[in-house]
Protein backbone atom coordinates (compact mmCIF):
# COMPACT_ATOMS: atom_id res chain seq x y z
CA UNK A 1 0.00 0.00 0.00
CA UNK A 2 1.17 3.46 -0.79
CA UNK A 3 1.26 6.74 0.93
CA UNK A 4 0.52 9.67 -1.33
CA UNK A 5 3.01 12.48 -1.42
CA UNK A 6 2.36 15.94 -2.66
CA UNK A 7 4.50 17.33 -5.43
CA UNK A 8 4.36 20.51 -7.46
CA UNK A 9 2.90 23.91 -6.85
CA UNK A 10 -0.23 24.63 -4.89
CA UNK A 11 -2.11 25.35 -8.11
CA UNK A 12 -0.95 22.24 -9.88
CA UNK A 13 -1.18 19.91 -6.93
CA UNK A 14 -0.55 16.30 -7.74
CA UNK A 15 -0.27 13.35 -5.49
CA UNK A 16 2.02 10.49 -6.29
CA UNK A 17 1.84 7.06 -4.76
CA UNK A 18 5.00 6.49 -2.75
CA UNK A 19 5.96 3.35 -0.87
CA UNK A 20 6.82 4.01 2.76
CA UNK A 21 9.70 2.34 4.47
CA UNK A 22 8.51 0.89 7.72
CA UNK A 23 10.14 -0.67 10.72
CA UNK A 24 8.63 -4.09 11.27
CA UNK A 25 7.36 -5.42 14.60
CA UNK A 26 8.56 -8.60 16.24
CA UNK A 27 5.88 -11.27 16.10
CA UNK A 28 4.86 -13.22 19.19
CA UNK A 29 2.01 -15.61 19.94
CA UNK A 30 0.12 -12.62 21.32
CA UNK A 31 0.81 -10.12 18.55
CA UNK A 32 0.98 -12.23 15.37
CA UNK A 33 -2.81 -12.38 14.86
CA UNK A 34 -2.95 -8.59 14.67
CA UNK A 35 -0.03 -8.30 12.29
CA UNK A 36 -0.88 -11.28 10.09
CA UNK A 37 -4.68 -11.13 9.89
CA UNK A 38 -4.24 -9.16 6.70
CA UNK A 39 -3.02 -12.32 4.98
CA UNK A 40 -6.71 -13.32 5.02
CA UNK A 41 -7.90 -9.77 4.53
CA UNK A 42 -9.17 -9.30 8.09
CA UNK A 43 -8.24 -7.09 10.99
CA UNK A 44 -8.04 -9.19 14.15
CA UNK A 45 -8.43 -7.64 17.58
CA UNK A 46 -8.27 -9.48 20.89
CA UNK A 47 -11.68 -10.23 22.39
CA UNK A 48 -12.46 -11.31 25.95
CA UNK A 49 -15.20 -13.90 26.28
CA UNK A 50 -15.32 -13.20 30.02
CA UNK A 51 -16.59 -9.63 29.80
CA UNK A 52 -17.46 -9.62 26.10
CA UNK A 53 -15.24 -6.77 25.13
CA UNK A 54 -12.44 -6.11 22.69
CA UNK A 55 -9.13 -4.75 23.86
CA UNK A 56 -5.94 -3.52 22.23
CA UNK A 57 -3.00 -3.97 22.22
CA UNK A 58 -3.31 -7.76 22.53
CA UNK A 59 -2.20 -9.55 25.67
CA UNK A 60 -2.81 -13.00 27.13
CA UNK A 61 -5.16 -11.51 29.73
CA UNK A 62 -8.11 -9.13 29.64
CA UNK A 63 -7.21 -5.81 31.30
CA UNK A 64 -10.84 -5.29 32.37
CA UNK A 65 -11.73 -8.58 34.08
CA UNK A 66 -8.39 -10.44 34.06
CA UNK A 67 -9.89 -13.42 32.27
CA UNK A 68 -7.48 -15.57 30.26
CA UNK A 69 -10.38 -16.51 27.99
CA UNK A 70 -9.20 -14.16 25.28
CA UNK A 71 -8.60 -14.71 21.57
CA UNK A 72 -8.22 -12.69 18.38
CA UNK A 73 -11.48 -12.02 16.58
CA UNK A 74 -12.10 -10.53 13.17
CA UNK A 75 -13.63 -7.06 13.21
CA UNK A 76 -15.21 -5.02 10.44
CA UNK A 77 -12.14 -2.89 9.93
CA UNK A 78 -14.35 0.19 9.90
CA UNK A 79 -13.95 3.09 12.25
CA UNK A 80 -13.48 6.81 12.67
CA UNK A 81 -10.55 9.13 13.18
CA UNK A 82 -10.30 10.10 16.87
CA UNK A 83 -7.33 12.38 16.28
CA UNK A 84 -4.55 12.72 13.75
CA UNK A 85 -1.50 14.69 12.75
CA UNK A 86 0.11 15.45 9.42
CA UNK A 87 3.77 14.69 9.98
CA UNK A 88 5.92 17.19 8.11
CA UNK A 89 9.35 16.11 9.32
CA UNK A 90 11.48 13.52 7.53
CA UNK A 91 12.88 11.85 10.62
CA UNK A 92 15.20 9.56 8.68
CA UNK A 93 16.68 9.91 5.19
CA UNK A 94 14.36 7.15 3.93
CA UNK A 95 11.17 8.84 5.08
CA UNK A 96 9.12 11.01 2.75
CA UNK A 97 6.76 13.54 4.28
CA UNK A 98 3.98 14.38 4.63
CA UNK A 99 2.31 11.35 6.11
CA UNK A 100 -0.68 11.08 8.38
CA UNK A 101 -0.52 9.41 11.79
CA UNK A 102 -3.93 8.83 13.34
CA UNK A 103 -5.69 7.16 16.22
CA UNK A 104 -8.70 5.22 14.97
CA UNK A 105 -11.70 4.15 17.03
CA UNK A 106 -13.07 0.92 15.62
CA UNK A 107 -16.81 0.63 14.99
CA UNK A 108 -17.21 -2.42 17.25
CA UNK A 109 -16.80 -0.69 20.60
CA UNK A 110 -16.47 2.76 22.16
CA UNK A 111 -12.83 3.59 22.93
CA UNK A 112 -11.50 0.56 21.07
CA UNK A 113 -8.56 2.34 19.53
CA UNK A 114 -5.45 1.69 17.57
CA UNK A 115 -2.78 3.81 15.99
CA UNK A 116 -2.25 3.74 12.25
CA UNK A 117 -1.60 5.79 9.13
CA UNK A 118 -4.29 7.24 6.90
CA UNK A 119 -3.25 6.50 3.34
CA UNK A 120 -4.52 7.05 -0.16
CA UNK A 121 -5.87 10.56 0.24
CA UNK A 122 -4.72 14.16 0.44
CA UNK A 123 -3.52 14.56 4.07
CA UNK A 124 -5.34 17.88 4.20
CA UNK A 125 -8.67 16.06 3.78
CA UNK A 126 -8.24 14.07 6.99
CA UNK A 127 -10.44 15.26 9.85
CA UNK A 128 -11.49 14.13 13.31
CA UNK A 129 -14.60 11.97 12.92
CA UNK A 130 -13.81 10.96 9.34
CA UNK A 131 -14.98 7.41 8.57
CA UNK A 132 -12.18 5.04 7.58
CA UNK A 133 -11.75 1.40 6.67
CA UNK A 134 -8.79 -0.93 6.94
CA UNK A 135 -6.42 -1.93 4.19
CA UNK A 136 -3.15 -3.80 4.50
CA UNK A 137 0.45 -3.30 3.44
CA UNK A 138 2.40 -6.54 3.27
CA UNK A 139 6.06 -6.36 4.15
CA UNK A 140 7.76 -9.74 4.59
CA UNK A 141 5.52 -11.75 6.95
CA UNK A 142 3.70 -8.72 8.32
CA UNK A 143 0.43 -7.25 7.01
CA UNK A 144 0.38 -3.77 8.49
CA UNK A 145 -3.18 -2.52 9.03
CA UNK A 146 -3.59 0.92 7.45
CA UNK A 147 -6.72 2.99 6.99
CA UNK A 148 -8.31 4.71 4.01
CA UNK A 149 -11.09 7.20 3.83
CA UNK A 150 -14.45 5.40 3.67
CA UNK A 151 -17.98 6.37 2.75
CA UNK A 152 -20.14 7.28 5.72
CA UNK A 153 -20.77 4.26 7.95
Amino acid sequence: MYNFIFSGSESGRRWYPWPMTRKLPALTADTAPFWQGGSRGVLQIHYCAGCRCFFHPPNPICPSCNSFDVAPRAVSGRGRVVTFTINRQAWTPELVEPYVVAIIELAEQANLRLLSNIVGCDPNEVAIGMPVSVTFAQLEDVWIPLFERAGDV
Binding site: L24, A26, P63, V82, T85, W91, T92, L115, I128
Partner: protein, 396 residues
Protein backbone atom coordinates in the same frame (compact mmCIF):
# COMPACT_ATOMS: atom_id res chain seq x y z
CA UNK B 1 -0.95 2.46 61.19
CA UNK B 2 0.64 5.24 59.15
CA UNK B 3 -0.46 8.63 60.37
CA UNK B 4 1.79 10.60 58.04
CA UNK B 5 2.32 10.83 54.32
CA UNK B 6 5.91 9.92 53.58
CA UNK B 7 6.89 13.03 51.65
CA UNK B 8 6.19 15.23 54.68
CA UNK B 9 9.39 13.85 56.20
CA UNK B 10 11.56 14.98 53.30
CA UNK B 11 12.92 18.37 52.23
CA UNK B 12 15.06 19.72 49.42
CA UNK B 13 18.19 21.24 50.93
CA UNK B 14 20.40 22.00 47.93
CA UNK B 15 20.36 22.32 44.16
CA UNK B 16 23.01 22.38 41.47
CA UNK B 17 23.28 22.54 37.73
CA UNK B 18 26.12 22.21 35.26
CA UNK B 19 26.58 24.49 32.32
CA UNK B 20 23.79 24.07 29.76
CA UNK B 21 25.55 23.56 26.44
CA UNK B 22 24.48 23.09 22.85
CA UNK B 23 26.69 21.16 22.81
CA UNK B 24 28.93 21.18 25.87
CA UNK B 25 32.55 20.18 25.45
CA UNK B 26 32.50 18.50 28.84
CA UNK B 27 31.84 14.79 29.21
CA UNK B 28 28.49 13.63 30.51
CA UNK B 29 30.20 12.49 33.71
CA UNK B 30 31.90 15.85 34.18
CA UNK B 31 28.56 17.64 33.77
CA UNK B 32 27.04 15.26 36.31
CA UNK B 33 29.84 15.87 38.79
CA UNK B 34 29.55 19.65 38.35
CA UNK B 35 25.83 19.54 39.13
CA UNK B 36 26.16 17.03 41.97
CA UNK B 37 29.02 18.72 43.80
CA UNK B 38 27.29 22.09 43.48
CA UNK B 39 24.09 20.63 44.97
CA UNK B 40 25.95 18.96 47.85
CA UNK B 41 27.82 22.17 48.66
CA UNK B 42 24.62 24.18 48.26
CA UNK B 43 23.05 22.05 50.97
CA UNK B 44 26.04 22.71 53.20
CA UNK B 45 26.90 19.04 53.16
CA UNK B 46 30.02 17.03 52.40
CA UNK B 47 30.37 14.04 50.11
CA UNK B 48 30.43 11.77 53.18
CA UNK B 49 26.93 12.93 54.14
CA UNK B 50 25.34 11.52 50.96
CA UNK B 51 24.08 8.01 51.65
CA UNK B 52 21.71 7.55 48.71
CA UNK B 53 21.57 8.26 44.97
CA UNK B 54 18.50 8.37 42.72
CA UNK B 55 18.05 9.10 39.06
CA UNK B 56 15.34 8.88 36.43
CA UNK B 57 15.62 7.22 33.93
CA UNK B 58 18.86 5.66 35.18
CA UNK B 59 21.46 4.40 32.76
CA UNK B 60 19.29 4.67 29.65
CA UNK B 61 21.51 5.75 26.85
CA UNK B 62 19.66 4.20 23.91
CA UNK B 63 22.32 5.46 21.57
CA UNK B 64 21.01 9.01 21.77
CA UNK B 65 22.46 10.16 25.08
CA UNK B 66 19.00 10.38 26.66
CA UNK B 67 20.52 9.43 30.01
CA UNK B 68 24.22 8.67 29.69
CA UNK B 69 24.99 8.57 33.41
CA UNK B 70 23.17 6.34 35.87
CA UNK B 71 23.46 6.02 39.64
CA UNK B 72 26.01 3.19 39.37
CA UNK B 73 28.44 5.32 37.41
CA UNK B 74 28.02 8.40 39.56
CA UNK B 75 28.38 6.75 42.95
CA UNK B 76 31.52 5.01 41.71
CA UNK B 77 33.04 8.18 40.25
CA UNK B 78 32.33 10.19 43.38
CA UNK B 79 33.40 7.40 45.71
CA UNK B 80 30.15 7.52 47.63
CA UNK B 81 29.23 5.03 50.32
CA UNK B 82 25.49 4.60 49.95
CA UNK B 83 22.84 2.65 51.77
CA UNK B 84 20.47 2.76 48.81
CA UNK B 85 20.53 3.77 45.18
CA UNK B 86 18.13 3.38 42.30
CA UNK B 87 17.32 4.42 38.76
CA UNK B 88 15.34 3.14 35.81
CA UNK B 89 12.74 4.35 33.36
CA UNK B 90 9.70 2.73 34.93
CA UNK B 91 8.27 5.36 37.19
CA UNK B 92 6.02 8.40 37.31
CA UNK B 93 7.94 10.44 34.77
CA UNK B 94 11.03 12.60 34.99
CA UNK B 95 10.44 13.43 38.67
CA UNK B 96 10.48 9.75 39.62
CA UNK B 97 14.02 10.09 40.95
CA UNK B 98 12.86 12.69 43.45
CA UNK B 99 9.90 10.59 44.51
CA UNK B 100 11.98 7.42 44.81
CA UNK B 101 14.66 9.23 46.76
CA UNK B 102 12.08 10.68 49.12
CA UNK B 103 10.65 7.20 49.66
CA UNK B 104 14.10 5.86 50.49
CA UNK B 105 14.53 8.58 53.11
CA UNK B 106 11.06 8.06 54.57
CA UNK B 107 11.71 4.32 54.71
CA UNK B 108 14.71 4.99 56.91
CA UNK B 109 17.29 3.89 54.37
CA UNK B 110 19.00 7.25 53.91
CA UNK B 111 19.44 10.70 55.42
CA UNK B 112 20.65 12.65 52.39
CA UNK B 113 19.89 11.47 48.85
CA UNK B 114 21.51 12.96 45.78
CA UNK B 115 19.04 13.06 42.87
CA UNK B 116 20.36 13.86 39.42
CA UNK B 117 19.43 13.91 35.74
CA UNK B 118 22.01 14.13 32.99
CA UNK B 119 21.18 14.47 29.32
CA UNK B 120 23.58 15.02 26.42
CA UNK B 121 21.33 14.97 23.39
CA UNK B 122 23.08 17.94 21.79
CA UNK B 123 26.49 16.33 21.59
CA UNK B 124 24.85 13.12 20.40
CA UNK B 125 23.17 15.03 17.57
CA UNK B 126 26.38 16.79 16.74
CA UNK B 127 27.88 13.34 16.12
CA UNK B 128 24.92 11.97 14.18
CA UNK B 129 21.78 13.85 13.25
CA UNK B 130 19.74 10.67 13.11
CA UNK B 131 20.43 9.41 16.61
CA UNK B 132 17.30 10.88 18.07
CA UNK B 133 15.11 8.78 15.84
CA UNK B 134 13.26 6.09 17.70
CA UNK B 135 14.29 3.69 15.01
CA UNK B 136 17.81 3.92 16.33
CA UNK B 137 16.67 2.72 19.71
CA UNK B 138 15.90 -0.80 18.63
CA UNK B 139 17.93 -2.95 16.30
CA UNK B 140 16.08 -5.33 14.03
CA UNK B 141 12.39 -5.86 14.60
CA UNK B 142 10.76 -3.78 17.27
CA UNK B 143 9.76 -5.79 20.32
CA UNK B 144 9.53 -2.94 22.82
CA UNK B 145 6.31 -3.24 24.73
CA UNK B 146 4.56 -0.16 23.39
CA UNK B 147 6.73 1.20 20.62
CA UNK B 148 6.20 -1.96 18.55
CA UNK B 149 2.66 -0.64 17.94
CA UNK B 150 3.96 2.71 16.73
CA UNK B 151 7.22 2.38 14.82
CA UNK B 152 5.66 0.40 11.93
CA UNK B 153 3.62 3.57 11.34
CA UNK B 154 6.69 5.78 11.28
CA UNK B 155 5.93 7.29 14.63
CA UNK B 156 9.56 8.11 15.14
CA UNK B 157 9.27 10.95 17.62
CA UNK B 158 7.04 11.59 20.60
CA UNK B 159 5.84 14.67 18.73
CA UNK B 160 3.40 12.48 16.79
CA UNK B 161 1.49 11.82 20.00
CA UNK B 162 1.80 15.36 21.30
CA UNK B 163 0.44 16.69 18.01
CA UNK B 164 -2.50 14.30 18.21
CA UNK B 165 -3.20 15.38 21.81
CA UNK B 166 -3.11 19.02 20.69
CA UNK B 167 -5.36 18.33 17.70
CA UNK B 168 -7.93 16.74 19.99
CA UNK B 169 -7.62 19.56 22.55
CA UNK B 170 -8.24 22.08 19.76
CA UNK B 171 -11.24 20.04 18.58
CA UNK B 172 -12.83 19.44 21.98
CA UNK B 173 -12.21 22.80 23.63
CA UNK B 174 -11.74 25.25 20.78
CA UNK B 175 -8.15 25.92 21.80
CA UNK B 176 -6.46 28.12 19.22
CA UNK B 177 -2.89 28.12 17.88
CA UNK B 178 -2.28 31.69 19.08
CA UNK B 179 -3.24 30.57 22.59
CA UNK B 180 -0.87 27.60 22.47
CA UNK B 181 1.83 29.97 21.21
CA UNK B 182 1.76 31.78 24.55
CA UNK B 183 3.62 28.89 26.19
CA UNK B 184 6.55 29.30 23.80
CA UNK B 185 6.44 33.10 23.93
CA UNK B 186 6.34 33.16 27.74
CA UNK B 187 9.26 30.75 27.97
CA UNK B 188 11.27 32.86 25.55
CA UNK B 189 10.65 36.05 27.51
CA UNK B 190 11.82 34.32 30.69
CA UNK B 191 14.83 32.75 28.99
CA UNK B 192 16.07 36.22 28.07
CA UNK B 193 16.79 36.71 31.78
CA UNK B 194 18.41 33.31 32.31
CA UNK B 195 22.12 33.38 31.45
CA UNK B 196 22.13 29.59 30.99
CA UNK B 197 19.19 29.49 28.58
CA UNK B 198 19.81 28.22 25.04
CA UNK B 199 17.46 30.60 23.16
CA UNK B 200 17.50 34.13 24.59
CA UNK B 201 16.70 36.38 21.64
CA UNK B 202 13.19 37.84 21.51
CA UNK B 203 10.43 35.87 19.78
CA UNK B 204 7.21 37.37 18.45
CA UNK B 205 3.94 35.70 17.59
CA UNK B 206 4.92 36.18 13.94
CA UNK B 207 8.21 34.35 14.58
CA UNK B 208 6.23 31.54 16.17
CA UNK B 209 3.91 31.20 13.20
CA UNK B 210 6.87 31.36 10.82
CA UNK B 211 8.57 28.41 12.49
CA UNK B 212 8.51 25.11 10.67
CA UNK B 213 5.46 22.92 11.04
CA UNK B 214 6.76 19.67 12.49
CA UNK B 215 3.55 17.72 12.92
CA UNK B 216 0.24 19.55 12.70
CA UNK B 217 -0.64 21.57 14.71
CA UNK B 218 2.76 21.66 16.47
CA UNK B 219 5.55 23.84 15.15
CA UNK B 220 9.24 23.80 15.89
CA UNK B 221 8.78 26.34 18.68
CA UNK B 222 6.28 23.99 20.34
CA UNK B 223 9.11 21.46 20.76
CA UNK B 224 11.84 21.81 23.36
CA UNK B 225 15.46 22.46 22.51
CA UNK B 226 18.12 19.81 23.04
CA UNK B 227 21.07 20.55 25.24
CA UNK B 228 23.85 18.94 27.24
CA UNK B 229 23.32 19.47 30.94
CA UNK B 230 23.07 17.88 34.33
CA UNK B 231 20.83 18.97 37.17
CA UNK B 232 21.01 17.72 40.76
CA UNK B 233 19.16 18.23 44.00
CA UNK B 234 19.79 17.01 47.53
CA UNK B 235 16.91 15.50 49.47
CA UNK B 236 17.27 15.38 53.24
CA UNK B 237 15.35 13.89 56.12
CA UNK B 238 13.61 16.88 57.66
CA UNK B 239 15.19 16.25 61.06
CA UNK B 240 18.58 16.29 59.34
CA UNK B 241 17.71 19.21 57.07
CA UNK B 242 17.93 21.84 59.77
CA UNK B 243 21.68 21.40 59.93
CA UNK B 244 21.83 22.43 56.27
CA UNK B 245 22.84 25.81 54.94
CA UNK B 246 19.50 27.27 53.92
CA UNK B 247 15.83 27.02 54.78
CA UNK B 248 14.66 23.56 53.73
CA UNK B 249 12.01 23.37 51.04
CA UNK B 250 9.43 20.88 52.18
CA UNK B 251 7.83 18.37 49.85
CA UNK B 252 4.26 19.13 50.81
CA UNK B 253 2.74 16.54 48.47
CA UNK B 254 3.64 14.31 45.58
CA UNK B 255 1.54 13.10 42.67
CA UNK B 256 2.48 9.86 40.95
CA UNK B 257 -0.77 8.13 40.00
CA UNK B 258 -1.57 6.42 36.72
CA UNK B 259 -5.04 4.91 36.55
CA UNK B 260 -4.80 4.22 32.84
CA UNK B 261 -2.75 1.91 30.65
CA UNK B 262 0.92 2.81 30.27
CA UNK B 263 0.45 3.77 26.67
CA UNK B 264 0.63 6.81 24.42
CA UNK B 265 -2.51 6.08 22.38
CA UNK B 266 -4.78 4.22 24.83
CA UNK B 267 -4.81 6.90 27.55
CA UNK B 268 -7.08 9.93 27.67
CA UNK B 269 -5.79 12.15 24.89
CA UNK B 270 -6.53 15.43 26.63
CA UNK B 271 -5.82 14.30 30.22
CA UNK B 272 -2.74 12.11 29.81
CA UNK B 273 -1.49 11.09 33.26
CA UNK B 274 -1.72 14.68 34.50
CA UNK B 275 -5.25 14.50 35.90
CA UNK B 276 -4.51 11.26 37.82
CA UNK B 277 -1.35 12.88 39.17
CA UNK B 278 -3.16 16.08 40.14
CA UNK B 279 -5.96 14.29 41.96
CA UNK B 280 -3.42 12.31 43.96
CA UNK B 281 -1.29 15.33 44.81
CA UNK B 282 -4.22 17.41 46.08
CA UNK B 283 -5.50 14.45 48.12
CA UNK B 284 -2.28 14.57 50.16
CA UNK B 285 -2.40 18.18 51.30
CA UNK B 286 -4.71 20.76 52.80
CA UNK B 287 -3.40 23.32 50.35
CA UNK B 288 -5.45 24.18 47.27
CA UNK B 289 -4.53 25.12 43.71
CA UNK B 290 -5.18 28.78 44.55
CA UNK B 291 -2.30 28.64 47.06
CA UNK B 292 0.25 27.99 44.31
CA UNK B 293 2.34 31.07 43.48
CA UNK B 294 4.60 29.70 40.75
CA UNK B 295 4.44 26.77 38.38
CA UNK B 296 7.24 24.95 36.62
CA UNK B 297 5.35 22.65 34.26
CA UNK B 298 6.78 20.28 31.71
CA UNK B 299 7.14 21.83 28.29
CA UNK B 300 8.90 19.14 26.32
CA UNK B 301 6.03 20.09 24.03
CA UNK B 302 3.89 23.16 24.63
CA UNK B 303 0.63 21.22 24.65
CA UNK B 304 1.82 19.29 27.70
CA UNK B 305 2.13 22.49 29.72
CA UNK B 306 -1.50 23.22 28.86
CA UNK B 307 -2.52 19.72 29.97
CA UNK B 308 -0.58 20.11 33.24
CA UNK B 309 -2.29 23.45 33.96
CA UNK B 310 -5.63 21.66 33.72
CA UNK B 311 -4.57 18.36 35.31
CA UNK B 312 -3.21 20.09 38.40
CA UNK B 313 -6.37 22.18 38.71
CA UNK B 314 -4.51 25.45 38.11
CA UNK B 315 -7.23 26.26 35.58
CA UNK B 316 -10.49 24.46 34.75
CA UNK B 317 -10.51 21.49 32.39
CA UNK B 318 -10.44 22.59 28.78
CA UNK B 319 -9.74 26.21 29.77
CA UNK B 320 -5.96 26.29 29.43
CA UNK B 321 -6.19 28.10 26.10
CA UNK B 322 -8.18 30.94 27.60
CA UNK B 323 -6.04 30.85 30.77
CA UNK B 324 -2.79 31.49 28.92
CA UNK B 325 -4.31 33.86 26.36
CA UNK B 326 -2.17 36.96 25.91
CA UNK B 327 0.39 35.51 28.32
CA UNK B 328 -0.81 37.83 31.11
CA UNK B 329 -1.58 35.35 33.89
CA UNK B 330 1.52 33.24 33.26
CA UNK B 331 3.99 36.14 33.02
CA UNK B 332 6.59 36.65 35.76
CA UNK B 333 4.38 39.39 37.23
CA UNK B 334 1.14 37.50 36.59
CA UNK B 335 -1.04 35.50 38.97
CA UNK B 336 0.77 32.26 38.10
CA UNK B 337 4.31 32.78 36.81
CA UNK B 338 5.15 29.83 34.56
CA UNK B 339 8.47 28.24 33.60
CA UNK B 340 10.39 31.21 34.87
CA UNK B 341 13.79 30.00 33.62
CA UNK B 342 12.59 29.66 30.05
CA UNK B 343 11.41 26.08 30.49
CA UNK B 344 12.70 23.45 28.15
CA UNK B 345 11.32 25.26 25.11
CA UNK B 346 13.90 28.04 25.38
CA UNK B 347 16.00 27.21 28.44
CA UNK B 348 17.02 23.75 27.30
CA UNK B 349 15.78 20.21 27.59
CA UNK B 350 17.28 19.41 31.00
CA UNK B 351 14.36 17.01 31.17
CA UNK B 352 12.51 17.14 34.41
CA UNK B 353 14.83 18.08 37.22
CA UNK B 354 15.34 21.54 35.74
CA UNK B 355 11.80 22.42 36.87
CA UNK B 356 12.59 21.45 40.46
CA UNK B 357 15.87 23.35 40.33
CA UNK B 358 14.08 26.50 39.16
CA UNK B 359 11.20 26.12 41.63
CA UNK B 360 13.72 25.95 44.49
CA UNK B 361 15.76 28.93 43.27
CA UNK B 362 12.58 30.98 43.08
CA UNK B 363 11.39 29.89 46.54
CA UNK B 364 14.81 30.75 47.99
CA UNK B 365 14.86 34.11 46.19
CA UNK B 366 18.03 33.20 44.33
CA UNK B 367 16.79 33.40 40.74
CA UNK B 368 18.70 36.57 39.88
CA UNK B 369 17.26 38.83 37.20
CA UNK B 370 14.30 36.55 36.60
CA UNK B 371 13.31 36.38 40.29
CA UNK B 372 9.57 36.72 40.82
CA UNK B 373 7.82 38.11 43.92
CA UNK B 374 8.65 36.34 47.19
CA UNK B 375 6.39 33.36 47.72
CA UNK B 376 6.05 30.16 49.73
CA UNK B 377 4.30 27.59 47.53
CA UNK B 378 5.40 26.30 44.14
CA UNK B 379 4.47 23.35 41.98
CA UNK B 380 6.68 21.39 39.63
CA UNK B 381 5.41 18.69 37.31
CA UNK B 382 6.97 16.70 34.52
CA UNK B 383 5.99 14.16 31.93
CA UNK B 384 3.57 13.62 29.10
CA UNK B 385 1.39 10.81 27.85
CA UNK B 386 1.48 8.04 30.48
CA UNK B 387 4.50 9.58 32.22
CA UNK B 388 3.65 12.04 34.94
CA UNK B 389 4.67 13.14 38.38
CA UNK B 390 4.33 16.29 40.42
CA UNK B 391 5.75 17.95 43.51
CA UNK B 392 4.08 20.57 45.64
CA UNK B 393 6.91 22.46 47.30
CA UNK B 394 6.68 24.71 50.36
CA UNK B 395 9.08 27.07 52.03
CA UNK B 396 8.08 27.85 55.58
Amino acid sequence: MFDRLFEKDVAITGVGQSEVGRPSLKSAMRLTLDASLEAIADAGLRREDIDGVACWPGDNNNGNSFSPVGPNALLSALGLKVNWYGGGYEGPGPLAGVINGAMAIAAGLCRHVLVFRTITESSARARDKGVSALTAKTVGRDSSYFWQWYTPYNVISAVSFMAMYAQRHFHDYGTRPEQLAQIALTCRRNAALNPKAIFRSPMTLEDYFASKMISTPLRMFDCDVHCDASTAIVLSRRDAAHACRQAPIRIEAIGAALHQPWSWDQISLTENAAFDVGRMMWSRTDLKPKDVSSAQLYDGFSILTMIWLEGLGLCPRGESGRFVEGGIRIARDGSLPLNTNGGQLSGGRTHGLGYVHEACLQLWGRAGERQIAPHKIAVAAAGGGPLGGSLLLARD
